[in-house]
Symmetry: C2
Subunit: 255 residues, 2 copies
């Protein structure tokens, strides 16, 4: 079990096996009774790779929390072109807007790595939102946090080049103090990382090579070793309005 209270992007790279829903910060102001109901009523499903959890346009009836595995959120045009919204791993949540509003899914969700997903019926949460003012505020915080993440994402797409976006992604995976380095594994396929960062696999490969040259990081398969974070920060954060270390994402990994 991973305590999401202290969860950060590191949890992604360490790939925890299971995640306890009770500990997601979204529920920190919910009482034991509600948590118990949550445990009873929510569905836990085991998903295979390739399985589609929900389709864009479908009515949202569940709020999702990933216990393990990996889920890709994406939009698709008529001609089949994909725009990946995000790729989520253990501990992350999605469809949070459905918690308070009747809505239709704004994206598709596909399992890209087998795992377990918890589905919480939205009525349950909508009820809680009415009774528990603190919970309403926590939902608000979750949504707002997602909003800020997207603002940052949008900025990165217009100001950072491919190599800088990868570097920034690595910095978030590392999440250490300035100077300190470390080793970590990519949370998923390079192809998926590429799509997550809005680039082609070929571009990712070349940009990663460039990042290596520029910052002196070591790469072996999916293992990345960083001796000095500042090198990456210097290289990537010059093309961003936030300074390293990024303080944007401190509430939770919720979506």
């Amino acid at each position: 079990m991973v305590n999401l209270m202290h969860g950060n992007l590191n949890a992604q790279s360490s790939q925890p096996d299971k995640v306890d829903i009770y500990l997601h910060p979204l529920f920190k102001h919910c009482d034991d009774n509600f948590i118990k109901t949550l445990g009873t009523i929510s569905r836990k499903i085991t998903c295979e790779k390739g399985q589609t959890l929900l389709f864009r346009g479908d009515k949202a009836v569940f709020f999702y929390l990933i216990r393990s595995g990996c889920v890709k959120l994406y939009r698709e045009t008529i001609d089949g072109t994909l725009a990946v919204v995000d790729i989520l791993t253990a501990g992350q949540v999605f469809c949070e807007i459905s918690i308070f509003e009747k809505c239709h899914h704004p994206y598709n969700a596909e399992v890209v790595e087998a795992g377990e997903v918890i589905m919480i019926p939205v009525e349950l949460l909508q009820e809680e939102i009415k009774n528990n003012h603190q919970f309403a505020l926590d939902v608000l915080r979750l949504v707002a946090n997602h909003c800020r993440q997207q603002e940052r994402e949008l900025e990165h797409r217009s100001l950072q080049n491919a190599a800088q976006r990868i570097g920034c992604f690595f910095l978030r995976l590392l999440n250490r103090r300035e100077g300190e380095g470390g080793t970590f594994h990519l949370p998923y396929d390079k192809m998926l990382v590429a799509s997550r960062l809005g680039m082609q696999p070929e571009t990712f490969s070349r940009a990663l090579a460039k990042l290596k040259k520029e910052t002196g990081i070591h790469i072996k398969g999916s293992k990345i070793k960083v001796d000095n974070i500042s090198n990456i920060a210097k290289y990537t954060c010059s093309a961003c309005s936030s300074e390293f270390p990024c303080k944007d994402l401190d509430f939770s990994k919720g979506r």
Copy 2:
């Protein structure tokens, strides 16, 4: 006065002179007493072009509503490169996250067209959020709506080319039924539209010419005449996951 209850992006193009804060849908569940307090305590300021309303990183103490004029929200890297987040006109609001959370501004706000702005102290709203459950939900809706807008924006940046983004922008300005055309004015400078859509003025100029060729629209200065909306929809919406007409934005123009 413009009734924001029924406001849509058309309001942008018709450039209303003044906007009544009471009618913003955010306040639809607030009682007269609160509205009166709002009128008393909020500041109305007249802004000159070029004036900076707030700086990124400053502590957020006001929620902003634009009565008239035009405000640019942007982020800036150390070397001075800008990333425009949005450009807002009469009836639109910003800094809504400050309504429920102590936060620092994630962007700068600069007046690009002189006008009047209303500043509402966040304490007032934070108080109301505690007392008025419906208001809390309306704030949630406002934030969620902003979130969806950004999701769409992000998709557009990765799937649509420059001409298609302009066409999509026009469709939102027109906001009519399929087939019906119309005439409208750009809500602000072409330079600003370009920055809003994440492209250079030169690119905008060339892409607009391309859009004209592809869809048969008529352009004279800032006046755009569209005979048949479907032509634009056919051209732009093919590179988007939503089909025309876009239903994404039905709550308000809030930000």
